[in-house]
C-alpha cells in the first residue's frame, strides 16, 4: 500500500483538507455500500467469561459506525477483535467469523501484519511516541521501508493535513509531540494512523480524554475522513454517536441488541432496552 503511495501521487487518499467536504458528506446512508467487515456468529471468551455472544454485524464502506453500550458490554472487545488486538490477551478464545473484505481474519492463513496495515487504531488516551512530531508520522512508513526524505516529507504533510493539524504544527515538526495539547496529540495519533494509508480506522473512545473544543475538532475530522475511510468508533458519549455516525450498534452484556441507522436508533429504536439506554435510564 505504501509502495503504491510512493509510485502514484494521484492515488494518495490523504487529500481531505476542505471543510466544505463536511457538509456534502454528512450522513447519507446508502444501502448498496460494500461490506468492509462482515461479522458472522462471532463469539469471544476471556477464559470462562463469554464476552461476545453470536455477534452478527456488517460494517459498510465509508460509513461511520458507532458502537455504544454500558461499561463491560463488549464494545471495546469487539473493536479490538476487528484488528485482532484482542489476541494479545492470552486467555482469549474465539469462534465464528470476522471477514475483512471477504476473508476471515481469524482464519489459519491470515497474516495479522497485513490486517494491521489496513486497519488503523486510535485509542482513548493520546499515545504519541516520545519523538518529534515528524518522526511520529514517519514511523509507520519507515517501518514499511520508505527512506526517501522527499517522499517521507510528503507523507508527513499529507497525513497531518488529513488529520487537520498541519497548520498548527507545520512550523515545529521537529519538536517533541509530548509538547502538544491533548487534543493536538490525539490528532497526531490520527495522522500517524493515516500515514500508513489504512482502509479502516478504529477509534476507541477517542475524545473521552479531550476538552470540548478538541472533541469538536476530532468529530469534524471524523466527518471529513469518512469520505475516504471506513470508521468504527466506540463512544460513551451518546450525543457524539448521534452527531457523527451513520449507523449505531447497541451492545449489552456481550450481545448486539440493536443495529440500525443512527437516525432510527436515536429517534425510534425498536428495542425498549436501547430506548432506556440512550435515554439515560440505565448504564
Amino acid at each position: 500500500m505504501v509502495q503504491t503511495m510512493m509510485k502514484n501521487e494521484n492515488n494518495i487518499k490523504l487529500n481531505v483538507q476542505s471543510s466544505q467536504v463536511v457538509s456534502e458528506e454528512l450522513p447519507v446512508v446508502k444501502n448498496n455500500k460494500s461490506t468492509v467487515f462482515g461479522t458472522k456468529d462471532f463469539n469471544l471468551w476471556y477464559g470462562d467469561h463469554h464476552a461476545l455472544k453470536e455477534i452478527n454485524l456488517d460494517i459498510k464502506e465509508n460509513d461511520v459506525t458507532a458502537i455504544i453500550g454500558p461499561s463491560g458490554c463488549g464494545k471495546s472487545t469487539y473493536i479490538k477483535a476487528l484488528n485482532r488486538m484482542v489476541e494479545l490477551v492470552p486467555i482469549v478464545r474465539t469462534n465464528g467469523e470476522i471477514n475483512y473484505r471477504g476473508r476471515n481474519i481469524f482464519g489459519a492463513n491470515y497474516q495479522v501484519e497485513e490486517l494491521r496495515t489496513k486497519v488503523g487504531m486510535v485509542f482513548q488516551k493520546p499515545n504519541p511516541f516520545p519523538k518529534s512530531i515528524y518522526d511520529n508520522i514517519a514511523y509507520g512508513p519507515r517501518i514499511h521501508g520508505i527512506k526517501n526524505k522527499k517522499i517521507l516529507d510528503e507523507i508527513v504533510e499529507k497525513s497531518l493535513r488529513g488529520a487537520a493539524i498541519w497548520d498548527e504544527v507545520k512550523d515545529r515538526l521537529n519538536q517533541n509531540a509530548y509538547g502538544l495539547s491533548g487534543g493536538q496529540q490525539q490528532r497526531i495519533c490520527i495522522a500517524r494512523c493515516l500515514a500508513i494509508e489504512p482502509d479502516v480506522i478504529l477509534m476507541d473512545e477517542p475524545t473521552s480524554a479531550l476538552d470540548p473544543i478538541s472533541t469538536l475538532k476530532v468529530e469534524e475530522l471524523v466527518q471529513e475522513l469518512k469520505g475516504n475511510y471506513s470508521i468504527v468508533i466506540v463512544t460513551h458519549n451518546m450525543q457524539q454517536a448521534a452527531r457523527i455516525s451513520d449507523k449505531t450498534a447497541f451492545f449489552l452484556n456481550g450481545e448486539v441488541v440493536e443495529f440500525d441507522n443512527t437516525d432510527k436508533i436515536f429517534s425510534t429504536p425498536k428495542d425498549q432496552r436501547t430506548e432506556d439506554y440512550i435515554s439515560g435510564r440505565f448504564g
Binding site: 448521534a242 436515536f266 429517534s267 425510534t268 429504536p269 430506548e275 440512550i278 435515554s279 435510564r281
Partner: protein, 218 residues
C-alpha cells in the same frame, strides 16, 4: 440533574400543560356563554385576561427549552417535549379563539340575533367536549381513544358547513344585518378551528407514541 429529576421535571411541565388546557377550554366555554347570553361585560373581561394564557404557554416553552438544552433527550423523551411545545402552542391558540369570539360578541352587542343560534350552540358544546376528551386521552396516552375522538371533527366540519350555508342565505334575506351575519360566520370559523386544533392533539399523541406523522384532519 439525574434522570429521576429529569422525569420529575417533565411530569411537572406536563402538569403545567394540563393547567393551560383547562384554562383555554374554560375560557372558550366562558366565551360561548357570553355570546349566548350577549354578556358584553363578560366578553370584555375575557379579552382583558388573554395574557394569562399567553404567559402560561410562554412558561411551558421556557421550561421545555431548558430541559432540551440541559438534558439533550432523545427518542420518546425528545418527542414528548417537542409534542408538548406544539400542543401548548395549539392550546394557547384555543385561548386566542376564545378572545376572538368574545370580540365578536362585543361587536354584536345587545342586538337581537338575526337567526336561531341553536346549531351554533351545538357546535360550541361539541367542540369543547371534544377538546376536553382529547386532552384526557392525551394525558392517558390513549391513542385509540384519541383517534376515535379526532373523527368527531368531521361532525363539527359538517355543522360548520351547514351553518355557513344558512348564514349566506340570510345575507340576501336580511341584507341590513350583514355585519352580524359576518360576526356569526367568524365565530363559526373559530369554533371549527378549535376542533381542528383538538385533532392536532390526537396527531401529536400518535407521533409521540409511534414516531410517525399522521394526518387526521383529512
Amino acid at each position: 440533574m439525574s434522570r429521576e429529576r429529569f422525569q420529575a421535571e417533565m411530569v411537572s411541565v406536563q402538569q403545567d400543560f394540563l393547567k393551560l388546557c383547562d384554562l383555554s377550554i374554560e375560557r372558550l366555554e366562558e366565551a360561548f356563554t357570553a355570546l349566548i347570553n350577549k354578556d358584553v361585560e363578560a366578553a370584555e373581561d375575557i379579552v382583558k385576561r388573554d395574557s394569562e394564557i399567553n404567559h402560561a404557554e410562554e412558561a411551558i416553552n421556557d421550561r421545555v427549552i431548558l430541559l432540551l438544552t440541559r438534558q439533550q433527550p432523545v427518542a420518546t423523551d425528545l418527542r414528548r417535549l417537542v409534542v408538548l411545545l406544539k400542543a401548548a402552542a395549539d392550546m394557547e391558540r384555543v385561548g386566542d379563539y376564545a378572545v376572538n369570539i368574545a370580540k365578536e360578541t362585543i361587536h354584536i352587542g345587545n342586538d337581537p340575533f338575526v337567526t336561531s343560534i341553536e346549531l351554533l350552540e351545538d357546535m360550541c358544546t361539541k367542540s369543547t367536549q371534544m377538546l376536553r376528551q382529547i386532552v384526557q386521552a392525551f394525558v392517558d396516552e390513549n391513542t385509540t381513544k384519541a383517534k376515535e375522538l379526532a373523527e368527531l371533527d368531521d361532525q363539527i366540519d359538517e355543522m360548520y358547513g351547514n351553518m355557513i350555508k344558512h348564514l349566506l342565505r340570510l345575507t340576501s334575506i336580511k341584507p341590513e344585518s350583514i355585519a352580524q351575519i359576518t360576526y356569526l360566520s367568524f365565530i363559526c370559523r373559530y369554533i371549527e378551528r378549535c376542533a381542528d386544533l383538538a385533532t392536532n392533539l390526537a396527531e401529536y399523541l400518535l407521533y409521540l407514541k409511534k414516531g410517525q406523522r399522521f394526518d387526521l384532519n383529512n
